[in-house]
Symmetry: C2
Subunit: 648 residues, 2 copies
């Protein structure tokens, strides 16, 4: 269980999010994405590639005849879906949804083999082939997702059928893997089971599950490389043989404690690091925690986009090298930003240092929700910071950069990942450590918790991130001592914290303002975070952003869109002394603060269209009014150019 | 034969190049590349992939047993080699080389089939499969190269064995292809035979060869598409099915007269357009000439690098779209720039307009010779305008961008193409139309020709492109009237032409100064082309060069190299009022004019290395002296960064 050395997230059931910004996303996830995904899992979406997910389970269960369909990791789609269902049920009981879920669970559980094994790809294609390609065939990944889903559904409903089924599968896995004689010294090619196992350990208090997670992490990348031996033994084709990263694509080229830079497939990397943080926390493993901190800094100081996105290259959906952050050929998978939030959340639970929450906030308000259309019906895998429609059409290097969100994908990793994140958003907002409540994110709603041995209710009211003010009303029976630790965002230079109208006393530690005092019923905390428009530069080593700036306000990154600013956005300059005007536009893009600014535009009036190069020409800059919209809202109107980093 | 409406190149045998700049390249081509290539064709280069070229001919000739080796187009390597040998023999008799060539020709000719067919891939792998994949298997391409080689060798030596053999092959081809019943309505997937056929027509005056060239051009892209039908008939895999260009990869998606933008594989495109110009010239086909002019402008006004390189994308080694000129993910194949010179040469012969020669000069002095190391031993296929070694190593999009020239390639298209261009360089310098001699390029040496019914000798002395002055001494028996048309380069705003020390009278037409007068023995023309350093901008539509400039002096494009300027070249700015100093450095890079200038460098002294983004920071620009070297000389010292387009 969580030890007292760490702060732990609050129970999702104790938080009722009622936030002017997030509520609509949560409703979309619950009311749109979850039902839509269920249709997708059952191949009932017209015009979309079939998922085959539930069909595979039925075939594996002997309930129908057929061949395995879809990607090798299709089982994970059910895992993600049932996980999102679980979270949604925690804050919104729904009998009909539970009934659908229970019926689905019956199908999934029916596919389990007598020994506990449960992976439809190998059940259908031949059990004798199981565990012959851990590197690429996602068996342990699917097990991890099923386990995460089973736990969420159990916590939400108390129903343990799925949990018991998956636990049996995990118990079987624990008998297969390890360094003892007769065990397979392997580990997953795509990580996630590590996180899931620690959740199971936290739920059951059974050390076996923590030990299995620890084994998968400690064994990873040990010499001789398991993936290399496995590949040779089973003659598995190695797709990354000629790549730069080779086994580091799987973060498996070195023992994890020797890995000092984030490398390879970005989602896998973030999931591994999250699992490492989980194990470090539970086992108090300082060398593992040190590795997490090193890898964290490798990401956030060297390889992270200003939107919180990660993964610079479509090739391998991967990290590349320090300061390589192309805006146009970018990958920046929605799932990778979600993975970074998982990692940040875990680091924050270990060490309440605001930079972890800053990154979490950055990714949540920018690089993750950009992955979903405002109506929740279309999704981006790839979240570029610069888009030119003609390039996406005609330049092979940018064909993965879509100009419009897509309906659904055969490989549907991002949409259900967004759903499970949004439905569990409340667990990212707060953590508690003894009598200290940490407020990491500013999301309106009500929270019930026990502080200072008392039931306390907090009512958070705010129009954050558009508005600078956050109010927190306290309800408690008797006056009592406890601490509320308020994150001061890194983007905020000026802020004011008051209690009942008077400036509050606090100590500032690691970016948190600790308000330690005797609290009374009806106490009201008011925080004002000043939100001027900020002009951001990237480190001079970032080639792609040299001479360019990005506009932010509060946690929100802004962009220019063709719909507001016309074509040729690369010709825009912000100028040296821009003036900014912010305005809340209720009817635009679901209600957003837009920014207008002065700016300039490189004219071609001194150019002959028939000359491509011209010597000794003086650039003619014309004044141009610029309109900036929040990055996450781009591509919700007429498709066109988009740009985040603009010339200064 | 060439009609009087066109200017024709001088006989290579009448020109003795003795130029301070080019002589060394020509000697390298003759003394290094030709012998080295012969070793390569015979698989005798240690550490290089075997070529299999001569071995294939021996196997096809029944002189040895074995399987076909190398690429499907390996026969063309012999064609290019013998062509370069032919050109070299025209200006430097070499009995030993001729003996080697004759023995090689014996082998090649021995492989010919009774019906005339001569392609080792199909002779070895089964003649019944010939002409089943014109689209991808390069049969007609190989035939074209063999023909070009045979013609050059015949002109050089008078020996007709190879010419007769290949002519028999061509006669056979003429019986296979056409739109008549029982003929194949096909055309080459990789063009070149069109140019070769017109050369054969010019040599033999046999209209059949011109007609075949015309057929290949007119039939190309006609509906129904031959390549589509062929692919279906023989079940040939279509690599470009999902690409943007599809059949335009081969310039075969539309009839050539309907093609308005240069598309697809850049080398193929340039070869096709060259062949089109040849046929337009010989047949006086105005619609075809119009198509050539349109495609020419599509390249030079929209898709050409400042170095004369073409082909923006490694994917398909191809053109992409207007103004898409990335400097770092560029392809810019050496062969494509050579193809552009072929095209320019032909357009210039039709219309003596200086822009054709300007492009020819630009490509020759920059994007082509950049493909060869100064010692002639290593070669680039890809000629980038921006290089970062770490990116070439770790970014998949730039893995084709090499930091160092390579020794030789299995697919050895570029080195022998450079060799055949350099050995025939003199044919690009001058053309004659009746009594007008056009001087397109300024290359020192002696020229014998007949002008005004007299034998005239011109002695050109110059240190161009480093020096501004070109002197031309005339030797003739009797005073006589003729015209010397001197190209005024587009880069030159100030020039002075004098004869015997007095300003000369001339008329300026289409960029040529026509000196029409009565000439006397020992007349001396002196031209001074002022060569200030120029700061060039690209059209504002070129996203990659926005806010950047490139430095040129005369025809030479300059670059910054890490060896002179340190790392982080992306941080360099030229500043608004740079001063330039030019200096001839005899011992540097074979003797070049280098430029030093003032400049600036974005410092990171106000950056914490641990922050990737920073708000409201003022950039600190430090003064930095910059040293520029000619672009073509880059990567001849310690490998490192290189940059052409620098922030203003």
């Amino acid at each position: 269980m969580y030890t007292k050395n760490f702060s732990k997230p609050l129970d999702l059931r104790a938080i009722n999010i009622n936030d002017s910004f997030w509520k609509k996303f949560l409703l979309i996830a619950r009311e749109h994405v979850i039902p839509y995904q269920w249709e997708a899992l059952n191949d009932r979406i017209e015009g979309a590639e079939p998922s085959y997910c539930m069909r595979n389970f039925k075939i594996a269960a002997g309930m129908m005849e057929g061949e395995f369909g879809g990607c090798v990791f299709q089982d994970s789609d059910f895992g993600k879906w049932i996980e999102a269902v679980g979270y949604a049920l925690m804050w919104h009981p729904d009998v009909a949804l539970q009934k659908i879920a229970d019926e689905a669970i019956d199908i999934v559980c029916a596919a389990q083999q007598p020994d506990g094994y449960l992976n439809t790809y190998y059940i259908i294609n031949g059990l004798e082939k199981r565990w012959t390609n851990l590197r690429d065939n996602h068996e342990l990944y699917c097990a991890g997702h099923l386990l995460e889903g089973a736990i969420a559904y159990y916590i939400a409903t108390g129903k343990d059928k799925l949990l018991n089924t998956i636990k049996k599968y995990i118990d079987y896995i624990a008998e297969v893997f390890g360094t003892d004689t007769n065990l397979l010294p392997g580990y997953p090619g795509h990580e996630i089971i590590e996180m899931a196992l620690v959740k199971l350990y936290n739920l059951t208090d059974d050390i076996k599950y923590l030990n299995l997670a620890k084994y998968f992490i400690d064994q990873r990348g040990q010499s001789p490389l398991y993936f290399e031996a496995e590949g040779e033994l089973y003659n598995n084709n190695f797709h990354w043989k000629d790549s730069y990263f080779k086994y580091q694509y799987y973060q498996a080229g070195l023992p994890v404690r020797e890995q000092t830079s984030a490398e390879g497939h970005a989602v896998r990397a973030a999931y591994l690091y999250s699992g490492m943080a989980d194990v470090a926390r539970e086992t108090n493993d300082q060398s593992l925690l040190q590795a997490c901190e090193t890898l964290w800094l490798s990401i956030v100081n060297k390889q992270m986009y200003i939107t919180g996105a990660i993964g610079s290259s479509a090739y391998g959906e991967a990290f590349t090298y320090d300061y390589d952050l192309p805006n146009d050929t970018i990958y920046a998978e929605t799932c990778a930003a979600i993975g970074l939030v998982f990692f940040a959340k875990r680091m924050l639970e270990i060490s309440p240092i605001s930079q972890y929450a800053d990154v979490m906030e950055k990714a949540l308000y920018n690089g993750i929700i950009s992955g979903m259309s405002l109506d929740g019906e279309k999704f981006f895998y790839v979240n570029p910071l610069e888009v030119v429609p003609e390039a996406s059409e005609k330049d092979h290097l940018r064909r993965h950069v879509k100009v419009e969100r897509q309906k659904w994908f055969g490989c549907a990793c991002c949409p259900p990942n967004v759903a499970r994140l949004l439905t569990s958003l409340a667990s990212y907002c707060y953590t508690q450590k003894e009598d200290t409540l940490f407020m990491h994110l500013y999301v309106g709603g009500n929270i019930q918790l026990n502080l200072g041995d008392q039931d306390v209710c907090l009512g958070v009211r705010t129009h954050y991130p558009w508005d600078e003010e956050v109010s927190i009303g306290l309800t408690l029976k008797e006056e009592t001592n406890f601490t509320i630790a308020i994150r001061i965002p890194a983007w905020c230079n000026q802020y004011m914290i008051s209690v009942n109208g008077c400036p509050a006393a606090y100590t500032l530690t690691n970016g948190y303002a600790y308000l330690e005092r005797k609290w009374h019923d009806k106490d009201e905390i008011t925080i004002v975070f000043e939100m001027p428009v900020r002009i951001n530069s990237a480190h001079p080593n970032v080639r792609e952003n040299i001479g360019k700036v990005a506009i932010t306000r509060g946690p929100i990154v802004y962009c220019l869109e063709e719909a507001d600013n016309g074509k040729g956005l690369h010709r825009v300059c912000l100028g040296s002394a821009p003036d900014f005007t912010c305005q809340f536009e209720e009817d635009l893009l679901g209600g957003v603060v837009t920014i207008t600014s002065s700016g300039q535009y490189l004219s071609d009036e001194n150019w002959d269209a028939s000359s491509l190069y011209h010597a000794d020409i003086t650039p003619i800059m014309q004044n141009k009014k610029l309109k900036w919209i929040p990055y996450y809202t781009w591509a919700n109107r007429t498709p066109g150019e988009m740009l985040v980093w603009v010339r200064r």
